[in-house]
């Protein structure tokens, strides 16, 4: 009878063992905050449906110092979310062109981040043009 007795190691706390995994978990965690902000916006839509007074009350709540701090925090999270999203995006595409030349992943990431930045600026410009 064989004396083999394979030992299986636990995966408990696996993500804490390597900085790479910590960064990965941080990336994944940002999705939670995206959901959180979506909920905020969903409430706004609900208030809009309840009439001008309700909507204005919602807007006023958003201007509270706590809410502004939360939004700044969210902005930072979303910047990291966007950046990490475009970092991984090249992996989802074929990087070898039909003639054998390579696409540089950095180019794809850069293009994505640039496009995201442009959209943000455009959106900001539109917002600034809207009268309160």
């Amino acid at each position: 009878m064989s004396a083999r007795r394979p030992y299986v190691r636990s995966m408990d706390g696996w993500w804490r063992r390597d900085p790479f995994f910590v960064r990965y978990m941080a990336r994944e965690a940002t999705a939670v905050f995206v959901v959180a902000y979506a909920l905020v916006l969903l409430v706004g839509v609900l208030r809009l449906s309840q009439g001008e007074a309700a909507f204005n009350a919602w807007l006023a709540a958003l201007r509270s110092p706590l809410s502004v701090a939360f939004h700044v925090f969210l902005l930072a999270i979303f910047v990291y979310h966007t950046w990490s999203w475009f970092r991984i995006m090249p992996k989802t595409m074929p990087l070898i062109l039909p003639d054998g030349r390579r696409l540089k992943p950095g180019l794809i990431t850069g293009a994505g981040l640039a496009a995201a930045a442009l959209l943000c600026l455009a959106g900001f410009a539109v917002l600034m043009g809207v009268k309160p």
Binding site: S2, A3, R4, R5
Partner: protein, 596 residues
Amino acid sequence: MEVFKADVAIVGAGGAGLRAAIAVAEADPKLVVALISKVYPMRSHTVAAEGGAAAVTRPDDSLEHHFNDTVGGGDWLCEQDVVEYFVAHAHEEMVQMEHWGCPWSRKEDGHANVRAFGGMKIERTWFAADKTGFHMLHTLFQTSIKYPSIKRFDEHFCVDLLVEDGRVQGVVTIENASGEFTLIQAKAVIIATGGAGRVFRENTNGGIVTGDGMALAYRHGVPLRDMEFVQYHPTCMPGTGLLFTEACRGEGGFLLNKDGYRYLQDYGLGPATPEPRNKAMELGPRDRLSQAFWHEKQKGRTVDGRHGAVVHLDLRHLGEQKLRERLPQIYELAEQFLGVDPAHEPIPVLPAVHYTMGGIIADGKCASTLPGLYSVGECSSVGIHGANRLGSNSLTELIVFGKVAGIEAAQYARSVNHGDAAALDKQADAVAAKALGIATGNGGTERMAVLRTEMAKTMEEGCGIYRLGPEMQATCDKIDELKQRYRNLKIDDQSRVWNTEWLLAIELGYLLDVAQAMAYSAFNRKESRGSHQRLDGYEQRDDANYLKHTLAYFGGEGAPRIAYGDVKITKSKPGTRAYGAAGEKADADRKAAAHD
């Protein structure tokens, strides 16, 4: 112990073993093939081969050219009828590999590309970047998965052959993971266990290249042929011995001494031209290049490196782009292991043991003198390399003769029945007891690493690039002594699960037996030929007395018995090996003579 019944057992799952297994499976899918390897197949040392596999391809090439290059390269110690078969079947095997998916490097028009290689008159070496062996091995392994009749015994270490009724009838293996024995009954056995370079100190070989199959056949009375012919590859990494492929030179690399001088032109390989010329300068045969290094070292013209004398492999003029495209693995090796950027600095290199030309005696059909026992690949001496192998002939050898061995073994297996199981059981039990005896060590005092180091050192001293009678005699005596001391091993590890110290101890036994065959064969060949070069009054080739194969027969606890066998000469009468300008003149003369 457990018993597995196969029709054909193959020991070794490198390029040759895998090709043989596929050949058996294609010849007759009803035959059960036991494919046994002490490592997973993709770890086999075929994986490290870099340069390429030769096959006549270009319209300006011919089988006769490849034949002449090989026979001349082997210093006329080749079995010429076998070489004729070899060159004639090389191209179809390359195409077969391609059909199986091997990613050969291509020309723009989509056909396979060929490159120049040492000692070859015309470009005929097929290649897959600078990882040809890797790609061939993985192609063969992955293709072998198609055949359900191939049953693999991965990480099973073969400890003996079973011979009964005058023929081989199976093998006994140890499962590395459990230390348990298995009896694999087989009607034919193919040994494909590779070479034995690890008997030397500096070598390009992986840890597993320990002459296992050679020793097993040898111990059962099969002679080992031409064991004195050991190839030193001229461009290896100092310290580790790792290989820098000949393709570096095929792409145009130079070898420079400490004065930045291309010294090969002083050794009958010139004149030096900036472009690579076949069979000249850096594309001369490996034995000549290694010998030139030795002479440069004697003259004090080599460079002093931290691991001893080296010369410089200069690839700077190729440029970084070409280097990264054609020699990517070399680039990585130089950068990571030596901290050298080949596009800007020359790489320090020196000769190291690379290939074992000799091996288990095999006729043109891979059969040994023991019925049912076949051998193929580096472990065998089928007769194509003679006294010196040309680069890129051995990868071709694996598949040309892998197919032959498989077909022949299949045919033999169909022609006989399984033997008496009880008798085999009894033999297998004795084998197991002997193997376990090595494990328990009986409280010995000799450390394996010490014996191994002493063996490697004495082989390097006595059986180096140039050899002297008294030194070879000293090596023979030393090996005899080491074999005695081997019986007194100290083994720390007394377990059964993954006891690699035990398996290494068995390997050391194989190494010592093979080393002994090499040393005695070398001592007794009183001439210089190919890679066996002497400086003690036997500097010349002596066709009158030594146009013969050396045959070493196992002497048990004593010395091997050395005998000689004839060489099969057909079309090519022994001549002078001429390279460089002399070679071109010889070719022109030969052409002119043919027209007269």
